[in-house]
Amino acid sequence: MALRPGSGQALLQLEDVTQRFGGLVAVDKLDFSIDAGSIVAMIGPNGAGKSTVFNLITGIYAPSTGRIIFDGRTISGRKTSDIAAGGIARTFQNIRLFAFMSTLDNVMTGEHARMRAGVLDSLLHTPAQRAEERRVRERAFELLRFVKLEHVAEQYASNLAYGMQRRLEIARALASDPKLLLLDEPAAGMNAKEKGDLIDLIRRIRDLGVTIFLIEHDMRLVKEISERITVLDHGEKIAEGLPGVVCDDPKVIEAYLGAPA
């Protein structure tokens, strides 16, 4: 326990979580927790069940058995939108932006759950609605500056270059003011320069007080950035701990490269 970084308080806890799809066990009795304020990575070969874990946390699936506890409340089985409003934001392995909306509108949409305007406010543009829109727009611009996209605020998201789309997804996720940010392969398709910027960005996000949980295949990035690593194979946790230790674990090497002949 002394090795755990961060405040030592679990922000997210998975208790004995299993997810079956028909006969396939995608996630098997998974137990782990993430401390508030830390950067944690989950690695594992393709098909190990990493994305399923994300989908369980964000409520796309309700676990077959087990419990997921976030910030002291059980969230497993709740609606995705409620979980998102409760402080968990994510990005996707395949970028999922609102393509035919402006960059700015993408980020403003991310603030949806923190806004109050109802149907009538939206219809009538009441003074309260206008004030809220102004506030939300300013905050969206702040976030765009944070990810260095303010110069393309009026562009459609679909027109942005790949690396910019990745950053826009992060900005949209941050707009909901999350306690926990899930990044699904954020460095996929990035060049070395872009990866360097990404590491810097992730650290800056953590410095804002956001806990970060990422799935990533790039081991150099994972080792450099994460304070703890969880390794998944065939839906089971096979190793967990500090980056240096986990990566030398024979079980992990076996999962990636196969058993020695």
Partner: protein, 343 residues
Amino acid sequence: MRRLQPYLLFGAAIVLPLIFSNGGFVNFLADAGAFVLLALGLNIVVGFAGLLDLGYAAFFAIGSYTFAMLASPQFGIHIPFWVMLFLASGVAAVFGILLGAPTLRLRGDYLAIVTLGFGEIVPQTFLNLSQWTGGPNGIGSLDQPAIFGYRFGFQALPYYYLILGLIGVAVLAANNLRASRLGRAWMAIREDELAAAHAGINTTVTKLSAFAIGASFSGLAGCAYASKLQLVSPDQFGFNVSVAVLSMLVLGGMGNIPGVIVGSLVISSLDRFILPQLTNFMHGFGVAIDLTNSRFLIYGVILVLTMLFRPEGLIPSRQRRSELHAAGDAALAEQTLYTEAVP
């Protein structure tokens, strides 16, 4: 200047029937106006929220029949027209929610088929509930609107101004909604429902609100149209009406308010002027083809041509047009900018 444009056009619409005061033309304008209202309402469902609704005429029918049953000798109930406007759009909105609720899990083709079914069920229901709705004969001698003792009568002009006023309200409403929390949520669902849910948007409530608000517009249109015609009957609300309104959106520019208005005016004038004129013209040459009977063939051709050559519609939003043209180079320029300039 740009900001003045809508007001200038609205002003032009006010004086237009005073300059061209031919009764038939004013009558056409009033009917076309009712379709503009319908198109603005369907635009909220299809254009903003991306929910393909092929049975929109059902809500037009519900709005019209609500007015007909509560403001006619049918049951001897005569609720004033101005109250009925609110009531009919409210009833249509409620049915928007009732018919929307079972479709929430459906998308694309499946949603289209179910809404198509609703579009058929509703007029059939009105046809078969003859003890209340007059069956195939419908309900006639509907109450005429009156304002400060002035009765609208049988001329089209007052109805035109009524409908024009409703269009003004509908445009303001649609425009406000577009630039709001709810409007962004609709568009987010249109673009990517899963990502929208992850942004904290309750997709159930948001979709139902699109169905309800879209339907309420057609409640207004139904009320105004029925009072002008003084008659409702089930055959006014067939599949062809749903298709015509959808064609207006596709032709004009889905999701864009000026585009939707232009699209509906083009289709209406095609229906009422251009095709009959062309038919007469061809009869003059001894070609006995009635183009008005093949209007749906012609709508179909228009839709196909629009999709092939101008998928964004006649008047896409200014932003989108510039984006579509500058897209390639902008992305390229940004790429270089990003790799070089960001520390």
